[in-house]
Amino acid sequence: MTNYLAAMVAAAALFAGASQAATPAAGNPAAGNNGPRWVQAPAGGSLDFVFDQAGAASKGSFKQFTTELGYDEKSPATGSLSVKVQIGTVDTQDQERNEMLLGADLFDAQKFPTAQYSASSFSRSASGGLEAVGKLTLRGVTRDLRLPLKITRTAAGLELSGEAAIKRLDYGVGQGDWKTTEGVGDEVKIQYKVALVKAK
């Protein structure tokens, strides 16, 4: 059951940058004129989240999400990224757990049907990797989140992947009894990988 929480987090995961300064205002970093536009290929990709449930790393995923990337290899810093996740498509391979995750104490999918990550610029991390500088909105809470990215060329376009960790409780994913981190850990790892094609 712990997975529910995780799932929420997962949503966030796309964005999965790890730094989380608490900044309330939601940004509106919709991609500007930041180089060529890329969108998610029909084959899609995967957005998984890994959470600790009773001491065991457990995995879930979101089945539906969309990605828009503005990216010019010649000037990566001007990139932009927008990922929108349909929270209702959470899947932990267990119907009961999925339902619980969507409930009011966890994702509250009825009130917050989508999660969104928006970055209007990219920067280099300390280790030299590319990082989206953006904000994650999950369950109505918006926080700064730097998402390390890997962008590679493929025959059909680009492959974008990223991995980050967020704390579910930062986003209120876990109300009431779920505020405890016994049973389900606070940290949720987000693993994101998607194939992109050039937007028409």
Binding site: M1, A54, G55, A56, Q93, D94, Q95, E182
Partner: protein, 184 residues
């Protein structure tokens, strides 16, 4: 009491394994029945976490126990038992050994099939035996519950047999498995 078994009595390790497993099986019932009373939530997750950890402990002890049995002599029952008693005892012992493997194993399979991986007291994680599969998780859950009932039934028969030997036949069959007891 010796560490190893003799042809007359069980050794210290066999006795310890026998009684620790008995206690852990009883603990499992308390955890499982508490879990059934809990609403879905973190406390329930914790309860099942304990149940799985204790179950995997029984599984590991069962392996040690079986290996130890192969390495040791087994006290002879024939002098103290009638043929039918001996046969019944043999069947129930084989069943009990099989069940202390099969019950944890079906629980483990059920956890893997449900995508609820198994940890051992949060110290390490057991690998998933199979990929998530709803139908399989349901059949493993039924198997787990049925095997538990069989285990209880056979264990009660086993205990009744031991008590009969002790109080009615007044022989050493029970005494040689009791901790700290001396065989007369």
């Amino acid at each position: 009491m010796t560490f190893r078994n003799t042809t007359r009595s069980w050794g210290a390790l066999t006795k310890a394994l026998h009684w620790i497993i008995v206690i852990l099986i009883i603990v499992q019932f308390f955890i499982a029945s508490r879990a059934h009373d809990l609403p879905r939530g973190p406390a329930l997750i914790e309860a099942w976490g304990w149940h799985k950890s204790v179950g995997m402990t029984i599984f590991m002890l069962a392996i040690i126990r079986l290996v130890w049995r192969w390495m040791n002599p087994v006290p002879d029952l024939t002098a103290e038992t009638r043929a039918w008693e001996h046969t019944l005892a043999k069947i129930s012992h084989v069943l009990l050994y099989a069940l202390i493997f099969a019950v944890p194993l079906t629980g483990w399979l059920m956890s893997s099939a449900k995508n609820f991986p198994v940890s051992w007291f949060s110290l390490f994680q057991w690998p998933d035996l199979i990929a998530p599969d709803r139908a399989l998780s349901e059949s493993m859950e039924s198997a787990h519950k049925i095997l538990v009932k069989v285990l209880v039934g056979v264990a009660l028969l086993h205990a009744a047999g031991a008590l009969k030997h002790h109080f009615i036949d007044k022989n050493n069959v029970l005494r040689r498995m009791l901790p700290f007891s001396r065989i007369k």
